[in-house]
């Protein structure tokens, strides 16, 4: 599995759009950067498309891009009710890793990791993918043992994963507190060196620009109001910018999946929850990797701007409000300060929430539905960003061929009837 390289299709703007390069920057400087081309057209909706993707976030734009680049479907559109990447794509903590316990998860997240590894070249857009490592900390003997079991399972799937002791962790992350007297002492950890971070906005923009280059229409400020059906088949969409005919609709709308599903009379096993994150004021570089902790439940990295980026778990109630409650950020700050006492006097700069679609087994849904031509890619919960390219790649394959490929097949909606769940709760390290 791990040796298979994904089919990247036509790479590097074959449609003829002018490319970004160091040379282009130098050349444009002569003209005071006045004549940079638009990254993508502001497309008017056509009367009919071969397929329409609902949702202009990373996953939706990736789906559209791979439909065009790999499957040659260029008469397609992405409709987005706001602006590109205005939802969870621009609200996550940008962590990327593929060190999942179960084979099904390893397959899709590693598929994604391979696509990340070539993404900037594929899209001719610097997504600032930085393989700075993701280190998950264990705080008890039991957790450490469970972790080594997971590390071996991950390695059997051909994915890099190493156990570190407290001293090795201190060497790798000098700012961390490994004093054994704290409430949750650092007992060890496991590291995925290929993990890291990327610039989340750039992912949306890069996919949008490359999809546009291949002829995909990207239609912003266009909210879907209804899904037209006839005889159990999709025939089109009603939107705020008029009806659009199409026989294939891919829904990639995260927290609003249940709302779109209800338009077609479909029910999904999802709960929409707020997931909060925050950044501190910028400081000089102190952390050049990503630290996650399951027991104290917090993850932290430092952005290129110097802000400490923190995230934790979801709020405990359903919400569509894109904001959460204060106890959650307070909890993650407590955890961060215990592990990194040096952060205690930092001030918070920004704090926000996104609405994530959580699934009962903490694994996504990539599936056909009972309605012909209606497909869902949802349920990514708190862990969707890292899966952006892999999700788009397999979902495009599902839409183009009307059957899930080997990677997507386990993520069918039918698993909630057969009981073949992919239970990544706890198994996934920190809550994704």
């Amino acid at each position: 599995m791990a040796s298979n390289q994904p089919d990247r299709g036509q790479r590097g703007l074959p449609g003829g759009k002018p490319k970004y390069s160091a040379f282009a920057i130098a050349k444009k400087a002569m003209n005071y950067h006045q004549d940079w081309q638009r990254a993508w057209r502001d497309a008017e909706p056509k009367a009919e498309y071969d397929a329409v993707i609902i949702g202009g976030g990373g996953h939706g734009l990736a789906t559209a891009y791979y439909l065009a680049a790999v499957h040659g479907m260029t008469n397609i559109a992405v409709v987005e009710k706001g602006w590109l990447g205005c939802g969870n794509t621009g609200r996550n903590t940008t962590i990327i890793r593929s060190n999942y316990l179960w084979d099904e998860s390893a397959a899709i997240y590693e598929h994604s990791m391979k696509l990340w590894e070539g993404m900037s070249q594929d899209l001719n857009f610097n997504v600032m993918f930085s393989q700075r490592g993701v280190l998950t900390i264990a705080h008890s003997e039991h957790e450490l043992r469970e972790m080594s079991r997971r590390v071996h399972a991950i390695r059997l799937n051909g994915i890099d994963s190493d156990i570190l002791g407290p001293q090795e962790i201190k060497k790798f992350v000098p700012a961390i507190n490994i004093d054994q007297s704290i409430r949750y002492p650092v007992m060890g950890g496991f590291l995925q060196k290929r993990g890291g971070t990327a610039r989340h906005d750039a992912v949306a923009w890069g996919y949008a620009r490359a999809a546009d280059d291949l002829g995909v229409d990207i239609i912003q400020n266009c909210e879907v109001l209804g899904i037209q059906r006839q005889g159990g088949k999709v025939t089109g969409l009603d939107t705020t910018r008029g009806p659009i005919k199409t026989k294939k609709v891919g829904c990639v709308v995260a927290g609003h999946s249940s709302v779109i599903a209800a338009m077609a009379g479909i029910r999904l096993p999802l709960a929409s929850r707020p997931l909060q994150a925050l950044v501190s004021e910028p400081i000089k570089p102190i952390l050049d990797t990503v630290i996650m902790s399951n027991a104290v439940h917090m993850y932290i990295s430092q952005s290129d701007k110097g802000e400490m980026v923190l995230g934790a778990g979801v709020d405990k109630y359903n919400s569509y409000a894109q904001r959460g409650s204060f106890p959650v950020p307070e909890h993650m700050i407590n955890a961060a300060v215990e592990l990194f006492p040096v952060l205690s006097r930092l001030r918070m700069l920004r704090h926000w929430g996104g609405i994530v679609d959580t699934c009962p087994d903490a694994s996504p849904i990539i599936s056909k539905t009972d309605i012909d031509g209606l497909y869902f890619d949802c349920g990514w919960g708190t862990g969707g960003f890292k899966a952006t390219p892999g999700s788009g790649h397999v979902f495009a394959d599902l839409i183009a061929n009307d059957r899930p490929n080997k990677i997507a097949a386990p993520y069918s909606l039918s698993r909630f009837q057969t009981g073949l769940l992919i239970d990544e709760h706890g198994a996934a390290g920190v809550a994704h």
Partner: protein
């Protein structure tokens, strides 16, 4: 931070409570008469409305008792708090209860004594 008016202890901060998710999911008594898909409605499928949501809360660090809350998932406004085993009394709460797709499921019919198909 939500301020939740516990019917037993009065208004307290959200951090004292646990949210138990969708309310009014009755366990099917005649579960053998249900298909896997019908049983999945009970076991896995959850209402996830954008708007008024009927949910259970528990005053975990207070009286430890359960109760039902009708809360808007967009504004977070709590419209009504009512006891376990009862249905909502407010107009919006009544509508949310009767309009839920769950009312029409075979799993719910099978939850009532003698209600199996």
């Amino acid at each position: 931070m939500l301020i939740i008016n516990c019917p037993h202890c009065g208004p307290r901060e959200e951090s004292e409570f646990a949210c138990g998710g969708e309310a009014h999911i009755a366990r099917p008594l005649a579960q053998n008469s249900l298909s896997d898909a019908e049983f999945a409605d009970y076991l896995f499928l959850r209402d996830n409305p954008k708007g008024l949501f009927l949910e259970r809360w528990r005053h975990t660090t207070g009286c430890r008792r359960w109760f039902n809350v009708a809360r808007d998932t967009v504004t977070h406004e709590i419209v009504e708090i009512y006891p376990m085993g009862k249905t909502p009394k407010s107009k919006a709460g009544k509508a949310a209860y009767s309009d839920s797709w769950r009312r029409a499921t075979p799993a719910e019919a099978a939850a009532k004594p003698g209600g199996a198909k």
